[in-house]
Amino acid sequence: MLFLLASMEVEALSVRESQNEFLERLLMRIASADTDALEALYLATKSSVYGFARSIVKQREQAEDVMQETYVTIFLSAQQYRAQGKPMAWILTIVRNQSLMKLREARHFVDDYDIDVSQPQQDDFTQRSLDRMVLRTAIAVLAEDEWQIVSLHSLSGLKHREIAELLGIPLSTTLSKYRRALAKLQKALKEETIE
């Protein structure tokens, strides 16, 4: 029921409202302990949160834990958010902190993603399998920081300046790693001969 209400909430928004304005409105409501607003925020951002968390902690189960902790933290800390037009950067900073805490708890760094790396079936030619192939290739060939930058740019809509600030690296480094990462990925995909 809450899921349906939250979905209706999302659909009822003005089409002219930008994503940032929408998220900031939700955060203001979450500051008043509005769980419907939190659910709407969750639906709008969960892929970005999950994708970024997984790029740090690698393991699916740990990324799920980080997702939960992130939204609980957002609920408890929403009143501290200052509307400056960067809600996504604020949310992803929480994700980063939670992910690093998760890694420290685990007391070891995981090198490998627990992603299904099997080749797609011969007759499985849907768009989904192509998307998975691109994702699998990106994780396999990109360095950890390259993958973080590309996934942030793909999923969360952050600009390079915001990504640089989030990751604590210079803008010029972000730009050069991003371009190098995409060139690497294009090359690897050509070698796999996808359509």
Partner: protein
Amino acid sequence: MNSNELLEQRIARAVEAETPNVWDKILLRIEEETQNMTQDAALVTPLAPKRRAVRTWLRLASAMAAVLVLTCVCWGYVNLLPESTVNLDVNPSIELVMNRSEKVLSVTPLNEDAVQILDGMDLANTDLNVAVNALIGSMVKNGYLSELKNSILITVNSADSAKSLELQERLTEEVNALLGGYELEGAILSQTVSEDERLQGLASEHEISLGKAALVDLLVSQDETLDFSSVAALPINDINLLIAAKNASIEGIASSGSASSASYLSAQEIRQIACTHAGVTPESLTASEIEFDYENGRMVYETEFHCNGFEFEYEIDAMTGEILRYHHMGNRPVGNANGNGNLPSNQTTPPTQTTPSNESTSSATNGTIGLDKATELALAAAGVSMDDIVLVKQACYEKNGISICDIIFLSDTCKYTYHINAITGDVEAQYRNERHRGQNGHHNAGGNGRFYDTSSFIGIDAALSAACSHAGIQGEVSRLEWELDEDDGSYNYELEFVYNGMQYEYRIDALSGSILEWDIDED
């Protein structure tokens, strides 16, 4: 959309598909946290404010501090307050902020190429002309400015409009002189801009300077075929070439010199490539046009020429000379490489992709496998038989010089789309979307909301018969292509075929068989 954007889309979709739903767990955690907070609430005693003792010497120190602050503010007003901004755009994009004395306060690279140009140079506190000198020198040294690409865009932004204009003219002269020192003839575009929220938004979105955003905005507003994102990614030299090619109005932008096209093939070379492919000589052309354009992420030449009653159109990569698209039109004899009449005088073998034929529609023509064979291959690849499916589309087209057959059909559960190479029979691309029942009980093809309740449609044979009857055709037609299309809730057959040297196009209501639109033209 460029290939990087497509990659990012795929990554986003893949992650979205594997993102788990943990909302219930989140809600449970919040309830637990809320209960814990209620149980563990602590009292907070506000600290009593401290009493402050005010002494005479403190008052004096405060007064002196105020004077010092005022002095610093005045000094800061002159020396630290930004007064003007200058953008230099080549492909590196650099922003310089100056104070009232034209001392550089900051230099910011706006893209990766600019990072290379700056290469650790510390230009803060230098005079503007010194900084510009260093930056132009670095651009020449790193090959961004050369005989092959000689264009630069200078944009000035200052609250003082008179000062902006003066600075714009002065910088143009200085940069011109600097380039002359490197024996380069520069093509300099210069402008003043004021703060504009819409343009600033575009600039931020595309990671370019405000000045370049203004230039791109001006160009795309005059040509619907150009889109902002694609042009914003081009170097200034290519944008400058497009401005000249399209005769675009650049009101408000001063321009000196001509953009270099030396990195691209010449118009003459392009004409020769097109003529060789068409089997004609440049001397035999009766009319021709050629111009630069930007298509699908690259600079291209578009050329059109006439020869002996034929019209030829080509789109050719301006750098490599690769033929991207071509189209030949005109009357030709049937299926005979050495035919009489309207063949160009020096052509012996017409290009196979465009030679018309009166052979049966579906069988192989001019080395292509034909629609029947393409359909057979598509069905085999999908593992279905003709009895299990409803055909929706059979059509051929050319893409990048390759003939492709589009075959679309529906089974009870899926919509299949195949792109078959018309020469080799290879499957170039294939898609399968699941169909699911909508609220009306009919099957919908996944993703686009279409539904095909084909049991009440007249069928392609009846549609063709209606078209031939309307056109007064009694014989067999050739090169039939058709598609079942949906337009605002109603379903129509769209047919194209050739008969007796004429090309016919029909749109026929799929339920009633009535003719909705038709056209006849010379093939």
